[in-house]
């Protein structure tokens, strides 16, 4: 009964989506306020309906209702409750429901925080989002219904893939989807503006916080996925340039470019056409990612079980949504005005140069990801494009972007003076260069990449310091604390996010430069030393988990004779799917991680063991979290809070003309 309620709720949600996707947009076109007024209640209704469906599926999992095909396929009676709930998004159908649910969450958020928007704008935005959700609901109801019954019911479920039975599974997909789907808001704003023909600075101002919030979620989501792979896969890697990882990284790059280009559009009203295109691109890439994961066109560690019918459905949907938007763009964009003037050497110019680099990087990831498919489709052979390619292409594109990151924030808007900039930044550059060249020697090893990485990281931090000092000299406030408080939050946000990149670069550079690993055969009682730490293997014990059995090793780790920690890596066997999983044990630290994973049992209680010493590896994810924190700070800036609190539309076109005449 409950699953049928869920199914029915989805059908109702589809009906609401059809209404929401059509009438308000039509109403906005003909100026009918009654039709436009439908948008808000429709969006909220849809949110509640999908929430009900989501709850019903969750209930089916919690109650172990194996008469639901999806539940039987992705969970098991032995599976602990939190993983049963996470199993909602453990495979194709449920993760699609999560996608749709999050889309309605964002719609609901738009209804809450859009009081200051003109009615036409709001109804168009919600209408566009309604159209998107219509596609996804239709997809679910036609070829991927999570509520499909299994008659007769299975005695027990086939279990969630053991790889996914991890705390990361509980939180990573929702975060990632919040990011992916969050770009639908910026997308809807862009389409609404194109439809209405009112691409102006106000549009950019409104889009900015939404884009930044989605970007924060995506940043955290990607970082969590990477951290998860790091400890779960047992190879100690944190980024594999797998097609599915790339699918999440491309929207991130486009989104990052979008945030910066929105700044130009907001400040100077310039490059609206480009900004709109980026907004369309960021969301299109999210959709493309959804397609790549689910269609089976690429092999990936993460891909869902595939079905050509589903692939075809998403492809058609993709073609309609993205194709339609780009056609609208081609039609409307030529009429958009130019905006304010600025010189090539100016903050605007640098932000746009950064955009070119980010988009080129994004294009390279796209090219590398799809290239094997292109060749195969043209029958020119099968190739693999993997980490060596991406590493060698990506770094040269990002290094100049990071270098610009240091200069950009110090350049004046409109027109900057290069010699003046050079003068202001010479200390920062000198300090960075000298430190970057000498520090590796102090640490005992020098390679060009090590120095380059450190140079970029220190450059970001030193230029941030210079920027902050100059800023403090210009704000009013009593004493240092007062002045610090007077600096706007959005500025802090930018500084913090940039410093997050610096932290990230330090992590990547150090771990690539200094990590050590060792594959050893350890008898009980034997020791192995890595990175100055001595690991003593005290044998394994059999342990029994809720739905697995495991051999758990005990490793006493000591440094200079003093015990640092005890690590318990496991080799687990999940009987339902008969899968062996390696659970690495990690002692995380600010300056290094110690990582142990069990290989295979050898004779006499001995094991093959893999040990890693990974300096600064946590800085990689720490840097991402700092970036996201920067985003949060930027969104909490005063001007957005004011804008949201306001109930009256601030800049409806008519009001603008009236006031202009008064002024």
């Amino acid at each position: 009964m409950i699953p049928e309620i869920g199914h029915f709720a989805l059908i109702l949600a589809l009906c609401v989506a059809v209404v929401q996707g059509s009438l308000p947009i039509y109403g906005a076109a003909v100026g009918n306020s009654a039709l436009m007024a439908i948008a808000r209640p429709a969006a909220r209704g849809q949110f509640f309906l999908v929430l009900i469906a989501f709850g019903c599926l969750g209930y089916a999992f919690a109650e172990k209702d194996f008469s639901v095909l999806y539940v039987a396929a992705t969970s098991n009676s032995q599976l602990p409750l939190h993983y049963r709930l996470a199993a909602i998004w453990g495979a194709h159908e449920g993760s699609l429901l999560l996608w749709t649910f999050i889309l309605t969450v964002w719609m609901f958020a738009v209804t809450l925080f859009s009081a200051h928007l003109p009615d036409t704008m709001r109804s168009r935005i919600l209408g566009v989002m309604g159209l998107v959700s219509m596609g996804f609901l239709l997809f679910m109801l036609t070829v991927s219904n999570p509520f499909e019954r299994l008659i007769p019911a299975a005695l027990d479920g086939r279990d969630l893939n053991p790889l996914l039975q991890d705390p990361g599974m509980v939180i990573h997909p929702p975060m990632l989807y919040m990011g992916y789907v969050g770009f639908s808001v910026a997308f809807a704003f862009a389409i609404a503006a194109l439809l209405g023909g009112n691409l102006d600075a106000a549009w950019a101002r409104w889009s900015r916080p939404w884009t930044t919030v989605a970007w924060c979620f995506l940043t955290v989501g990607i970082a969590m996925g990477s951290g998860w792979a790091y400890y779960e896969l047992g190879w100690g890697g944190w980024w594999f340039w797998d097609p599915v990882e790339n699918a999440s990284f491309m929207p991130w790059l486009a989104g990052t470019a979008l945030i910066h280009s929105l700044a130009v559009t907001d400040k100077r009203g310039g490059f609206k056409v480009w900004t709109v295109l980026l907004a369309i691109m960021a969301f299109s890439l999210s959709l493309l990612g959804t397609f790549l994961v689910r269609s089976g066109v690429l092999t990936s560690v993460h891909a869902f079980a595939t079905d050509p019918k589903r692939g075809l459905f998403i492809l058609v949907f993709l073609a309609v949504v993205i194709g339609g938007s780009l056609a609208l763009y081609a039609w409307r964009a030529p009429r958009v005005g130019l905006g304010g003037s600025f010189a090539m050497v100016s903050r605007e110019g640098m932000l746009l140069a950064n955009n070119v680099l980010l988009v080129a990087a994004m294009g390279s990831v796209l090219l590398g990801t799809l290239y094997p498919l292109f060749l195969d489709a043209l029958d020119l052979g099968k190739i693999s494009v993997g980490p060596p390619y991406f590493d060698s292409v990506f770094a040269p594109l990002m290094a100049p972007a990071v270098f610009l990151m240091g200069i950009g924030p110090l350049a004046q808007w409109k027109k900057a003076n290069l010699p003046d900039l050079a003068k202001r930044l010479r200390w920062a550059f000198g300090v960075s260069l000298v430190t970057a060249l000498t520090l590796p020697f102090v640490m005992g090893k020098w390679t060009p990449l090590l120095s380059l990485g450190l140079l970029l990281a220190i450059w970001i931090v030193t230029t941030a310091v210079v920027g902050l000092r100059e800023r403090l000299a210009h704000v009013d406030g009593h004493g240092l604390a007062g002045r610090l408080a007077a600096v706007p939050r959005s500025y802090w946000g930018m500084l913090v996010a940039h410093c997050g990149i610096a932290v990230f670069i330090v992590g990547v550079t150090m771990v690539k430069g200094f990590e050590t690993e060792s594959d050893v055969r350890m008898n009980v009682g034997e020791t192995a030393t890595i990175g100055g730490y001595t690991f003593r293997f005290d044998g394994t014990q059999d342990v029994v988990g809720p739905n697995y059995t495991a051999a758990r090793g005990t490793f006493h780790v000591s440094w200079d004779g003093r015990e640092t920690t005890i690590l318990y890596p496991e080799k687990r066997r999940y009987p339902v799917q008969n899968q062996i999983m390696t659970e690495a044990a990690i002692d995380p630290g600010l300056l290094r991680d110690l990582y142990v994973s069990l290989g295979e049992p050898l004779d006499d209680g001995a094991w093959s063991v893999r040990l890693y010493h990974k300096p600064f590896v946590d800085w990689i994810w720490g840097g991402c979290l700092i970036m996201a924190l920067g985003g949060v700070l930027a969104v909490s800036d005063r001007r957005y809070r004011l804008a949201w609190r306001k109930q009256e539309p601030a800049v409806v076109p008519s009001a603008r003309t009236v006031r202009r005449k008064v002024a």
Partner: protein, 153 residues
Amino acid sequence: MIWLTLLIVLVSGPAWAGEARPLGEDPAVEARLKHLAIELRCLVCQNQTLADSNAPLAEDLRREVRDMIVKNMSDKEIIDFLVERYGDFVLYRPPLKATTTLLWVGPFVLLLVGATVLVITLRRRARKVVDAPVTDEEHRRVEQLLAQGGKHS
């Protein structure tokens, strides 16, 4: 108590605290194997390197590569051995040939084109915007309005 424990550890330590042996017989061979294997693709896996995979075929291939290293074959010879049997698919670093030219030069062409377009657009734009200085003026007014709107509430 601590001292006692320490004493026991110190005294009994050498009796069993042997240094573990590396898994491979020759660390230099293992290092080269690793160096090669991280750029090779495991064929049966979804998308894993030969170094990371535990699939039986991956183990066999590692064994073959190890044997070839011991026989002192060059990296190129080893890679050719694999490509002859499995094709370019095993290489995570696609070789530069006619069909992969676009892949390798694409990113830099993209950058070059992007930069050129940006410079040209900015130049052309600078000329156009001077012709219509109103736009800037108008924009400032929007800014002002947004700011005023905020203060009134």
